[in-house]
Symmetry: C2
Subunit: 333 residues, 2 copies
Amino acid sequence: MSVTIKDIAKLAGVSHTTVSRALNDSPLISMETKLRIRAIAQELNYTPNFSAKSLVLDRSYNLGLFFTTLSEGTSAGFFYEAIRGVNTVIRDRYHLIVKGIDDYRSFQAITRKSFDGIVVVSQSRDDQPFIDHAVAAQIPVAVLNREVEDKGILNIMSDEEQGAFQAATYLIDQGHRRIALIEGRKGFKSAQNRKEGFLQAMRQRGITVKNEYLMPGMYDLQSGFISMKQLLELAEPPTAVFCCNDEMALGAIKAITDKGLQVPKDLSVMGFDDTVFSAFVTPALTTVRRPIELIAREGAIRLLTNIEQKEQDHEPVYLKTELIIRDSVRKIN
Amino acid sequence: MSVTIKDIAKLAGVSHTTVSRALNDSPLISMETKLRIRAIAQELNYTPNFSAKSLVLDRSYNLGLFFTTLSEGTSAGFFYEAIRGVNTVIRDRYHLIVKGIDDYRSFQAITRKSFDGIVVVSQSRDDQPFIDHAVAAQIPVAVLNREVEDKGILNIMSDEEQGAFQAATYLIDQGHRRIALIEGRKGFKSAQNRKEGFLQAMRQRGITVKNEYLMPGMYDLQSGFISMKQLLELAEPPTAVFCCNDEMALGAIKAITDKGLQVPKDLSVMGFDDTVFSAFVTPALTTVRRPIELIAREGAIRLLTNIEQKEQDHEPVYLKTELIIRDSVRKIN
DNA sequence: CTGAAAGCGCTAACAG
DNA sequence: CTGTTAGCGCTTTCAG
């Protein structure tokens, strides 16, 4: 089988304890023997058995990255950036385990023994039972992207309400008054926040939003397309539409051009997220950037210090969104 | 601490050995005691300690999913589909560990002890040392997406050459003769295959491709944009462009419209991959679908039977690509 | 059908 | 500074 510390011990003429200590750089061992033992380990191509370490140290070297779901409602870009963000900080220090919360029928297997820490990229308040379970199981948790009531757990997100407020204000500043909203997926907190920011901007500027301008959406292309189509059939269609994410904005643009109209000449469209392709579609999308990768990185960093130093500093962190002005909105008189 | 089989044993008045057997459904135990023990386990909310199991069973319950890189050159959609594909088959039977090969400076830690199996989504022949290492370490491996010489290891991919051939043939059938190519990222086998399929179609139809029609690319939007810009400055620009992936095709379309021209009226564009947004951009992209999710699923299934039943059936599998006709190519006389 | 004992590879008192 | 011993939680002979 593979080589163990006992093999090394035999060759070095010491006890396996000494080998263990030498390899873990214990101050109890003389430099001389340390070097000798390490040389032998190197030679034999020794790799520690992590199962054994885990068993005795009570650490798994696993870091969980959980999404609400891997099946639907999670955009590919979002997913990608989150994984990248976390991965750049853990590199090969931990195993990054990616899962959908809905992969589990029972959370029994989610224990402190199998996860040293968990990052939850939360898109829905349906995730709460999972988060509660993790906390109850004493696993250090960082919740990203969605605000969570429970004070005392790491919580990093972007200020989405402010982002939507920023977007809506921009549309108003461009002279628009008949502004429609295509909402995010029902039950997602982000959908609610964005809608709130939008409405707040309208209220602040004294603009009343007709009920028929408030359209449902699912965060996917399809739903943006369908809702836009309906808006176009209104007796008095809007002059601008704020879509709660970029994918729906693309769907909306498609619906508009299908009808023989042009963006932004006949109708202005805004998105939210600034996904990778948003800059390259035609017209390039005016949108709001949510710093997912940054959020993920920040969350991972804090979680690790938490795990490794047992710290407990837990103020919610809001990272700022940024207005990205491109070509899909035009100024009207 | 958490509950162990010994706790259960005590409560049930049996030895921990019996508990272990009962929980693992050993035929040596009477139905009666099995039921009794399981009830108690349930009651105590027992979860096995996987580190301990791993140590004695010599299995880690980890399945590695390795990409060439998580940093660049991997499109978000590709990534997403691959993870989904694998995840749907493993669910909670294994831990899915997602990593970039370039996260590792040394492959020392990649051992049979820490991975029961590895899926490599390979995009470059630079992955070969990693694959060789895994094979040498006796880890069951499935290589997806790229053909691999080593017979005897699982290998699933799409037939990209055929896909590109299909695409090019389609362009020719639509009457195009001045056809340009924007290539994929250098060093990626897929880039080579797609180019080959393209050239073969040209050869078969007796069309010579000017050197100035062969443009470099990096599989990202930027490079599609730049290369297209250059093509437009040619004395005799092409009437159609085949881009080696959809992202570059979007970049190309952007370059064309920036110049005041229209797709497909003035110039036809084809992509490759059929990423999620391809259907919704304007014009909707004519492209070739590569069944990544299917490939990933198929790879995972075969890998698992391999792990669990020690089978050894290893013919390379090619899954068919599909021509997706939309609106970005027009017929010319 | 059940139990006693050994051991997987490693770390951590405790004793020198 | 080094070694002896025990034990993490589990499975697996081997004996009843």
